[in-house]
Symmetry: C2
Subunit: 221 residues, 2 copies
């Protein structure tokens, strides 16, 4: 193994992880479209294709371990590889949450799981989730602090949408009963958690880049 090969493997690992983040984001985008139209075919596709995300995550985690064991990277590189394992963990959860959205769509089909007065909220949550997922993919690929920092606004938008959902569902005007309220509650939580995982990854990218810029391990605490 020459040093170049190791460097190439590091770059390939980062690219792979960014790619899986893209898959999870596409899954959430598709799941949202399926949810809003009660589209059984789309929802089932998300569920079926979820295994690809899981397999890709396992492969990336294993590749990171192999890199650690074979090349024993030091300092910054070591931190990069270890945090990449943590990032894979978050991305895997993002994929699971997209599948959860698809599952509720399937369970309620042919009805639309989200009543019309919250459809717009979910369209927005889906849009923000996809933006966050795309920003995270960019941050992973470009190690771009700018992108990683700007996602705070999107995360705030997601929190506001999530809070608004509760207001609607708990309000006196809610006519759709308990089962629909439970679906909406769970769905809201899935989008919010999706955003949280994306933010967590961006936070790590920030710490890493900051740590390298200042040349100090303390930068991440």
């Amino acid at each position: 193994m020459v040093r170049t090969s190791y460097r190439e493997q590091l770059v390939a690992l980062a690219a792979k992880i960014a790619e899986i983040c893209g898959l999870a984001t596409v899954a959430m985008e598709t799941a949202t479209r399926a949810l809003l139209r009660a589209d059984l075919v789309l929802a089932e596709r998300v569920i079926r294709e979820h295994d690809q995300i899981v397999d890709a995550c396992m492969a990336a985690e294993e590749a990171a371990f192999v890199l650690l064991v074979r090349h024993q990277p030091v300092a910054g590189d070591l931190r990069t590889v270890v945090t990449s394992i943590q990032n894979v963990f978050d991305i895997e959860r993002m994929g699971v949450l997209a599948k959860h959205v698809a599952r509720i769509t399937v369970r309620r089909h042919p009805e639309v799981a989200v009543p019309s007065e919250v459809a717009h909220d979910f369209a927005e949550m889906g849009r923000v989730a996809v933006q966050l997922g795309n920003a995270t993919q960019q941050a992973l690929l470009m190690r771009d602090v700018e992108t990683a920092t700007s996602i705070d606004d999107e995360d705030d938008a997601m929190d506001a949408l999530h809070a608004h959902l509760f207001v609607v569902v708990m309000g006196r005007e809610w006519q759709h009963g308990v089962p629909a309220a439970i679906d909406v509650t769970m769905l809201g939580r899935f989008y919010e958690r999706f955003a949280d995982h994306a933010v967590e990854i961006c936070r790590r990218v920030n710490f890493q880049v900051l740590g390298e810029t200042t040349g100090s391990d303390e930068a991440r605490t």
Copy 2:
């Protein structure tokens, strides 16, 4: 740095992580008691003491990184330290979930957030969560595959309790309206996720111990 000191640090790190798992478990135990009695003082204690869990998690993660950077462990030790960082991540989430339970208790006080017909389910979910947390703490400390394997039954019990909750809340006899249904849904999810994180940690302990026994990295896939 002599080799013994490094070995001691590895053992100390494992003990520390097991201890934090214990803190998260106690938090869930206390949060459950608070939930069932609408005990504001207990619930606020869980919320107040949550920062200790977060701080301890950050310190453990940092200690693991320092160990990696300073001692560059190889093979089995390397895997142990890296997976310990993943375990800390799950334990931190377990602590957050206990805090979420406490928060709902505070929000509904002086009412009890869980109507009487599901109080027994939550008492059971709390009991199973604590058993899982304790088993995980043991697995982390003793690296005991036996304990780690037996938790599958507890996890099944948790899933059954969670499924039963939905049946009750979505049933025609539910008299408590949408807000209580939403609380019960969220609470059920918190207990189920707490169990999932514990199971995830035990799964990792299993892989590690198996990998060492067979002397093969392939054992974990």
